[in-house]
């Protein structure tokens, strides 16, 4: 373990290596997210992720935001365990009828001011699951949505981009609240 930790001290951070063009994009984006987040919300924006019926593809990519390449916590953006601690609800999936109640309750358990980000194609309108007897529809059918990030699933870069857009839009609300 010491050897691994020691190596990590000397190895350049993975985020700064740019062997592929999208790594450059991540770095640019990361800087931008960092600036906007700090300007509007200090150093803290807490995200509560809610799977309202997704296939778990979106969860995989949201998880990836925590890996060393994206390292979302650099910007003070972090995932929290309770809606009570959250500023943002990040909701995935078509909302299934069996999850509708749980999603509503999670929304009401989140203190104001709060934003809802719907992630993935099915979170917009049910996507390929729309029309099923078991699906209520997109997230906005159940709780008010501030931003939608498309993709099946969206890549971590796209999710970061979406958060940036949210920070820009949420600014007036955040200062007035």
């Amino acid at each position: 373990m010491r050897k691994l930790l020691f190596q990590s001290l000397f190895r350049p951070p993975l985020t700064e290596q740019a062997p592929l063009p999208d790594d450059t994009a991540v770095t640019e984006l990361a800087t931008a997210v960092g600036r906007a987040a700090r300007r509007h919300l200090g150093r803290s924006l807490s995200i509560r992720e809610v799977d309202a019926g997704s296939c778990n593809g979106c969860e995989l990519e949201i998880h990836a935001l925590n890996n060393a390449y994206y390292d979302i916590e650099r910007f003070g953006l972090k995932f929290v365990a309770s809606p009570r601690h959250a500023d943002v609800l990040m909701v995935t999936g078509p909302v299934t009828k069996n999850m509708r109640d749980a999603l509503e309750r999670t929304y009401h358990a989140t203190p104001n001011p709060k934003w809802v980000v719907a992630v993935g194609d099915c979170a917009r309108d049910g996507g390929c699951f729309a029309g099923s007897y078991a699906v209520a529809g997109g997230v906005s059918q159940v709780v008010p949505v501030d931003l939608h990030i498309p993709g099946c699933p969206p890549s971590p870069t796209m999710v970061l981009q979406g958060l940036l857009a949210l920070l820009d839009r949420a600014a007036p609300n955040a200062t007035s609240a």
């Binding site: 809610v50 019926g53 997704s54 593809g57 995989l60 990836a64 390449y69 299934t96 699951f129 007897y133």
Partner: protein, 503 residues
């Protein structure tokens, strides 16, 4: 001892079902099959319904023979299999919720997928109005002095799927865990009915996002079996490449995540980097990080990009350079071993009874791996080992994954070395008459079974059985006697799919 073949002779064989036979049987043969399952002579592979028929897929573990028996139930009931063979219980509850066919004599008639939110009952059978008021779900009792209950979910603390866990604990120790699932039920089998084969393939790839390749692979193989399609060699080999890449990414992620649930974040950080390297290589080589919608009936939609081979080889070399140090770290960290060794033990008898697939089965002595036992192409001409352990604890499930990472690396090398030239797909010619097909494909989590009936380019009925159906109930058994705080660790070591079983 009767063989599956004998059972087949008892019934009326259904034409145009491939590759394994399906026979219509009467109630006595059905019950006989259930009792043979209970005796442990055969394994239950699947149990699913139709408007007024139930089907049961069975495997003879010794000969790897597979057969499906079907029972007509015009009066909407059939003799319960679960009464004899508990692994069938949840499947029977799901059949009742979706089709209204009741399992006569079942020991558990509570709803499973139906939480009385759909506005309709028996959505795939003869629909009736929903109950005006739902009665509270009765959890199984646990009796004793100073027991307390802990209710968890459906919304969990982490970035994971929704489900409800009801713990009954005595102090720190779990006396009983009962799962209640169905929250992510999207009605996929309902959406399949009448869908075009193309749309159905897309839906199949969205049953469980982490197994999108395995599901698309299984669906395509089932459709091709039904339509008697011959897939070009290059497509067959590319499918295996995609499947192994998916396994690699998931296992690397899991190994890190299990250690993280034992509060050893260093492994998570390093395994996360390796996982990301696989996803980036997938994106560069195939145009999608999770390789979604690439396997389709007839072949694959995407060939390796120009420098795809080089990118994949570079990713493999990187993993080979870094992974051994992580394995050593796992093995040599006493505080981590203290959490994983002897934790969440699944007994081999239970793994065998439930025909548990994947690392859950293989860590508890069940050697089944569809790639080896059923040897579908191209695995029949590839060299690999199927690691098996008997300890059945969290540690064993980690080690199975470690060994399978190594096997997948070797398989990908072999595939790249021998990748045939040629076309990557064939046109799907539809048939006007109904034709049925079945396929079993080894996903990273275990064997995915898909059965379907096609007619004129449309799906009449498609059933998708996730390996989790036979793993979730075992988690309840494995956690017993462990402390509540070890539940996340045990749960992650099983890593069952919620969406895959909820459908």
């Amino acid at each position: 001892m009767p063989s599956l073949i004998d059972l087949m002779l008892e019934g009326r064989s259904v034409q145009q079902h491939s590759p394994w036979p399906r026979v219509a049987v009467d109630a006595s043969v059905w019950t006989f099959a259930a009792s043979e399952l209970a005796q442990g002579r055969w394994s239950l592979l699947g149990l699913w319904g139709e408007l007024s028929t139930v089907h049961m897929a069975i495997m003879d573990g010794h000969t790897a023979e597979i057969a499906t028996v079907s029972l007509d139930c015009p009066d909407h009931s059939y003799p319960s299999v679960g009464k004899h063979h508990p692994p069938a219980l949840r499947l029977e509850r799901a059949i009742f919720d979706l089709f209204g066919l009741s399992a006569e004599g079942s020991t558990d008639s509570r709803p499973w997928l139906d939480h009385n939110n759909w506005g309709v009952r028996f959505p795939l059978g003869d629909r009736i109005d929903a109950l005006s008021q739902s009665s509270p779900y009765r959890f199984l009792p646990a009796e004793g002095d100073s027991l307390h209950q802990i209710a968890v979910g459906p919304v969990h603390a982490g970035i994971i799927e929704p489900g409800h866990f009801r713990f009954t604990a005595s102090g720190e120790t779990v006396v009983r865990l009962e799962e209640r699932l169905g929250y992510t039920h999207k009605g996929i089998e309902g959406l399949m009915i009448g869908a075009s084969v193309e749309r159905a393939a897309q839906l199949a790839g969205r049953v469980s996002g982490d197994s999108t390749v395995a599901y698309a692979f299984a669906f395509s193989r089932a459709a091709e079996a039904a339509l008697q399609l011959v897939v070009p060699d290059r497509a067959i080999w590319l499918r295996a490449l995609l499947a192994e890449f998916e396994r690699l990414a998931n296992h690397l992620g899991d190994i890190g995540a299990i250690c993280n649930d034992a509060s050893f974040a260093l492994m998570q950080a390093h395994c996360g980097v390796l996982r990301e390297s696989v996803l980036r290589a997938s994106n560069a080589a195939f145009g999608h990080r999770l390789m979604r919608d690439i396997v389709v009936p007839g072949g694959v939609t995407h060939d390796l990009n120009g420098d795809g081979t080089a990118i994949i080889r570079a990713a493999l070399a990187n993993i080979r350079r870094r992974f051994p140090a992580l394995v050593e770290l796992y093995d040599n960290t006493a505080s981590l071993q203290d959490r994983t060794v002897d934790t969440g033990v699944l007994k081999p008898t239970l793994a065998r009874q439930y025909a548990a697939g994947g690392y859950v089965g293989r860590a508890s002595g069940r050697s089944f791996d569809a790639r080896r036992t059923l040897a579908y192409p191209p695995y029949d001409s590839l060299h690999f080992e199927v690691p098996v352990l008997t300890e059945g604890d969290v540690n064993a499930r980690v080690w199975i994954r470690v060994r399978e990472v190594e096997q997948s690396l070797s398989l990908i090398d072999q595939i790249l070395d021998r990748l045939p030239e040629g076309s990557i797909g064939t046109r799907v010619a539809h048939r006007p008459e109904p034709r049925e097909g079945m396929a079993i494909v080894e996903g990273f989590r275990g064997d995915v079974l898909i059965w379907l009936r096609l007619q004129d380019g449309r799906v009449e009925r498609c059933h998708l059985r996730d390996p989790s159906w036979f793993q979730w109930p075992l988690l309840e058994a494995a956690i017993e006697g462990n402390i509540v705080a070890d539940f996340p660790l045990c749960n992650k070591s099983f890593n069952c799919s919620y969406s895959g079983q909820d459908l």
